[in-house]
Symmetry: C2
Subunit: 497 residues, 2 copies
């Protein structure tokens, strides 16, 4: 039975049901799970754990790669299973529980989680639950559509549970490159010079004795919901592509733009799709989540290689790509998120980082996480890993939201995830602000003139001018700085008039 | 004449006066200068440039390593020489001009400046003015007490002016290790595994043809003003050392703590001095500025090696150390600030980063730069380079300032330089907050209980409790979040009662 999927005979005796595997998880445990952005998560064991939590006292700390797909975070949250959750999530049910203070959420840079675990700053997992495409002759685990934190979680967990997904593509094997930095001191440089370099092993090494259970399933990969580009995301993409053309012409970017990192979501995906009609070829991606656009660009002969830590596709794209993975395999690699997002590599390669902002302010500080400064959206994710170390750091957003009730450009952001020091290019459908080499007052001028929606420009100009009259390196009117948020809450619109 | 100091004969014909050298600088030029934290800056040429600016239209963009000593930034600012200044300063006269909007100041991470120059994000220098201890047989420049950005500035400047300081110690030669990352793509890993590794050359390579002028001088090194530890800085040091002892006992830090980075200034220096009486031996420093404490710890046999990009000493300590540099030389190295502060190295080595905060908030966001959110103090300096990539990120400050009128712990910081994601340990004389693995609400509890001055604790508790009642991942009362600053401005005290 499934001898090609479990190639170490002795492990076959460990096959159990999802319920039996879930029973290994005890109240109060720290559980590590595979999964990043909806790619590669275990599917039946989390459901079985949630089922148990509905019937008995079972609360866990859950550490994953990033967000989970298939509504799993919502299911586990609703069942009361989650006491603590890290480092990222994107589920509306869990989000509500977090903002009500019912689930403790630790929002952390995705490249740092493995390091924090390794050095004892986060609790070591008791159990790691990892979705696999196969188990090798050595008992090593071949991941599915993501690597995420799986290798580190397996390395550090007391027990490992494998969820073997028989419906996953057998061509996933060979796609992964598992490399983890050694303990300090005497840690060596990460020997990665090009996005396509393979520096590790094709599977996650584990002593087969530590595999406590194997659960077989045939769950489909969860599908990402990506809205198609609209007029505004198209215009944002065009602004950025025009800027890239100028940078290449002036010799500040290589002809292929250098390795691209593009965040998850509709706007970022639209920017990537915009490259379909741009004059750049031999593109390379050094990113975290590979979305539909990666494969569109490959099919169009524009993208020559993509390195990520996860593949998350829409239902349509998944139906096309996963069965023909063999055709893409020599142009793809999936790495641990510690490596895909590592500052050492982002800086060495000169990654161009394009991420979505929730809002930014007139001085270039970016909020990626907190609505009105208090309510968590998803988390910082990998944006800080790349923004801080990239060759060029770009944030994109539409200039307004909620039919104009909200301006994405504000006097002062209510929460800072990326400081003025780390933000170089801002783009809305209104235009592009190039902040390189500018001081705060100069940045404000460029941002207001280029990125702000016309409805909000007079109010921002008034704020800025009054603040400048008071002086300072970064002029502000602290007593008014957050008025737009209180207006929004009290009157449903950021402007009071 | 000075054949040991200028060892390439052909260069002797380039010796000119400071005034002649200063005349090479034209209005509107970008000038790069050596100097970091007061160590290794050219001294007579900047004065001659300032003199010219008093008599004719002469305004420049000045790029240095970091702050300059001997009041030079003030002298140049007062003369009207400075139009734009980057990436750091610490001079009261210049600070005033910056906050009045008279000098444009670009405050930037110190490890990023060379990269920004290299990729054309900052303007290339027309002239580099570099203090030297000697010029080698090849015409290469031996720096003095700092490397800073000198190697990059020399590499990129059209013309190089050397200020040869005949009073500098001849033993400075051999102290420096000049390594610059290559252009991308195909940039290699930085081959530095231990703080003591030497990976480059002892002098700054330059085609002698590009040396436009040499000015001889005998200026003393400028002296740092470091206040001696007081009761409160002593207590801060003790809290941190006690914490380190626990971390070592629990195996989370190595017995020698791993490479230490300690920021510039009185509190940070006091923390280092506190290690004199702590049980740790074989200490190593991987830092930027090496202060008095480095040499105190070496003399006491506690510190085995120190890597930095600058040496800045008090007058007394300088008198003792500079003449006997030969005795310390095998335990010291000075690197370009790009390397001393490089994220790749900080992360690989597992640096413990200790820096001073201006203020922090109940959720762990740190302000290092802006008084009341608007007025620049000095700049972010290297704190972000280390904080973002360290094994352990510590910020220290006294809990109150101005005789209690100001609390260093506030509901929400008015400017964010280091986000909650990057701050792990906060220390005041009141105690230490260990934020590792905690969510915002948990952090607030630990910070208020451990770090806040008793006079401010009730007010912060009231703010936090009222905010929590409203909910959210990071509860805030946006309409009151900055009241403490407006109270301070209007009534001279942060509390209104």
């Amino acid at each position: 039975m499934c001898s090609d999927r479990i190639r170490l005979d002795s492990l076959r005796s460990k096959i159990v049901t999802a319920e039996q595997a879930a029973a290994l998880v005890k109240d109060g445990m720290v559980v590590g799970m595979s999964g990043f952005g909806g790619g590669g998560d275990a599917k039946v064991i989390p459901r079985a754990m949630a089922e148990r939590a509905r019937q008995e006292a079972l609360k866990i700390t859950l550490i994953t790669g990033a967000s989970l797909g298939s509504g799993l975070d919502g299911i586990m949250s609703e069942a009361g299973l989650l006491a603590r959750r890290m480092p990222f999530q994107g589920d509306p049910v869990l989000r509500k529980a977090i903002n009500e203070g019912k689930v403790i959420f630790i929002d952390q840079h995705l490249s740092h989680v493995a390091e924090l675990l390794r050095q004892g700053s986060l609790p070591a997992p008791d159990v790691a639950v990892i979705e696999a495409a196969a188990i090798t002759e050595q008992g090593h685990i071949v991941p599915t559509a993501s690597v995420g934190n799986s290798a580190s979680l397996v390395q550090m967990a007391k027990q490992v549970i494998v969820e073997l997904n028989l419906s996953s593509s057998p061509h996933l094997e060979g796609l992964h490159d598992i490399y983890l930095p050694a303990a300090r001191p005497q840690r060596q440089p990460i020997p990665l010079i090009n996005p396509s370099d393979r520096i590790g092993a094709p599977a996650i090494a584990v002593d087969p004795e530590r595999i406590a259970a194997i659960v077989l399933c045939e769950s489909p990969e969860s599908a990402a919901t990506i809205l198609p580009p609209d007029d505004e995301t198209q215009v944002i993409a065009n602004h950025l592509i025009h800027f890239f053309e100028q940078e290449v012409a002036q010799g500040r970017l290589p002809a292929n733009l250098g390795p691209l990192q593009v965040g998850v979501g509709t706007i970022a995906n639209a920017v990537m799709s915009g490259l379909l009609n741009a004059p750049f070829t031999d593109l390379e991606q050094y990113s975290e989540v590979l979305q539909d656009s990666t494969f569109e660009l490959m099919d169009a002969g524009k993208l020559k290689f993509a390195s990520g830590c996860s593949i998350t596709l829409s239902a349509d794209c998944g139906k096309r790509v996963f069965p023909s993975l063999a055709d893409y395999k020599d142009r793809l690699v999936l790495r641990p998120q510690e490596i895909s997002n590592h500052p050492e590599i982002a800086r060495r390669l000169g990654v161009v980082a394009i991420n979505t902002a929730l809002e930014f302010d007139i001085y270039g500080n970016v909020n990626s996480t907190h609505v009105c400064g208090t309510k968590m959206m998803n988390g910082i994710g990998g944006s800080g890993d790349f923004a801080r170390n990239a060759r060029l750091t770009v944030f994109v957003t539409k200039s307004i939201a909620k039919a104009g009730a909200i301006s994405s450009v504000v006097p002062m952001v209510s929460h800072v995830d990326h400081t003025e020091h780390d933000v170089q290019i801002l783009v809305t459908e209104q235009g592009l602000a190039d902040l390189r080499g500018l001081a705060p007052r100069e940045r404000a001028r460029v941002i207001i003139d280029n990125c702000v929606h016309p409805d909000y420009r007079p109010a921002l100009n008034a704020y800025f001018e009054e603040a400048c009259a008071r002086g300072g390196q970064t002029p502000h009117l602290l007593e008014q700085a957050f008025d737009w948020y209180t207006n929004l809450e009290q009157r449903g619109h950021m402007l009071s008039y």
